[in-house]
Amino acid sequence: MMRGIFAIVVLDLKRFWLDRARLVAGLIQPLLYLFVLGAGIGASSKMGGGDYRRFIYPGTMGLSLLFSATFAAITIVFDRQIGFFKAVLVAPVPRPAIAIGKIAAGALQSLAQGLLLLPFAPLAGASLNVVQTIEMIGAMALAATTFSTIGVAFACRFNSTTVFPIISNAVLLPMFFLSGGLYPLAMAPGWMKVAAHFNPVAYAVDLMRGSVLGVFFFPVPLSLGALALTIALLVWAAVRVFNRGEDDSSLGAAKFNFRR
């Protein structure tokens, strides 16, 4: 089992390294939010430009982690199209090890992307001391794991990459917009506060924001518990798909169609 997970992680990271240019490209979106959208909205908000940038820095970190983790999960769909995944499936690797390996590899890739964004914190007015940095990285690791689990739990149910833009717009963006990444949840309308309680991205962003600003919206134990629960549920769901016995090659994906 451990060897299987290890093999899948090495496999994915080796290929990730080939695409390392993507890390740089992956910085563009969060930096746009931070310094362009942040400057514009900040100037017109009560917080003022500097404070607003500091406020949304953890939010853009969440955005970066969310999208890079989900993108890493898409490799499942690509692999299935080229037959590469078949070679993995006929290897004596327990199916749960494939699911967990994919999740771990995605989390590491996402964390790498996040660590690249970390040095921009002082530029956003969020200078971090050693303790804050450690807290922040811990929160980032937890967030990356959660998001990677979300990505894999989705990706293993699809066999075409064409649905990803839809997922990204219909699922990821709403999750981000409702997370409080760009505005304080405390001042948001009631329905948004309610929605936030069911949104893992909100808990993840809140933990990261807490490590930067020292102010939390959710109680820390609640955030940790909610993320742990999300991870546990989605790992279980992903493993179940990978474990499907009959017609293993489809990983259950062929069974997914819009009629069901």
């Binding site: 299987g4 093999a7 090495v10 290929r15 080229i82 037959g83 590469f84 070679a87 006929v90 017609d247």
Partner: protein
Amino acid sequence: MSVAPTSSDDTSPAVEVSAVVKNYGKVEALKGIDLSVGRGEMFALLGPNGAGKTTLFSILATLRAPTSGTARVLGHDVVRSRDAVRREMGIVFQEPAIEQRLSGRDNLMLMGLLYGLSMSAARKRASEILGQLGIAEFAARDARTLSGGQRRKLELARALVTDPKILFLDEATLGLDVDARRTFWAQVRGLAESGRTVFFTTHYMEEAEVADRIALIDSGRIVALGTPQELKARVGGGIVRMKTQDDTKARAWLAEHGHVAEAGGTSITIVHADPAAILPELLRNLPVRVDRVEVHAPSLEDVFLKLTGRGLEGANKP
């Protein structure tokens, strides 16, 4: 036929399929397949596209489960003991299963890891197998810089990384030119000679001829099974094939005079114990003009035609 080095405690056949049926919804892809492949045998599953070759292959490769019936590889049930089967087999798929942007060595190394080798053992094994197949120079090259034939060799190396007892190949030479196909099969034949069981599917009849035994598959059924010689013997001594100005008229005349022309095909095919002896009479007496005539020993194509009334589509001679 080469003899496999069998261990004393394990004498079960390399592949044993009994009464396997596979349905995809209402479509019956396999309608009850029985076959047995001995250890060390080189076995071909020959049939046209859509005959059920890849479905049967996928079942043996543990990628699909049969709707009913059982299949065993080296004595292990392909559904209940998937991991045991997976540990002992190497597979070359129709579609490429190597990462184009990684070197040959890295590709093989990663595969070794999946089979539980340590990083250093996997790397060592990768170099070893590349050397054995005479493609050591692929080690440092990215797979995408290799030609089609070279990539297939790398796929073969990938399948051999764990030194499997049985090698499965599914239409492994699809898209290769004749030369590349010939060298590929010479290499596989060599592996079979050294004691490995090889099970492969193809729709090229000349590829199937390198096998010890061939199963002809059509519409989800095995229609014939035997050595290439046995199969050809089913057709009889030889074949007269001719093209006339009016095939319908010629067929009628032939039937009248006691010659049996096979049904189907784009030309008239007559199977006879001694075709050379009847030819002069035919040419003299046929009431239609004969455009072309040839006499030859039966090929697997003829066997397939005789058994199914259809040719092996796409199985044209190179």
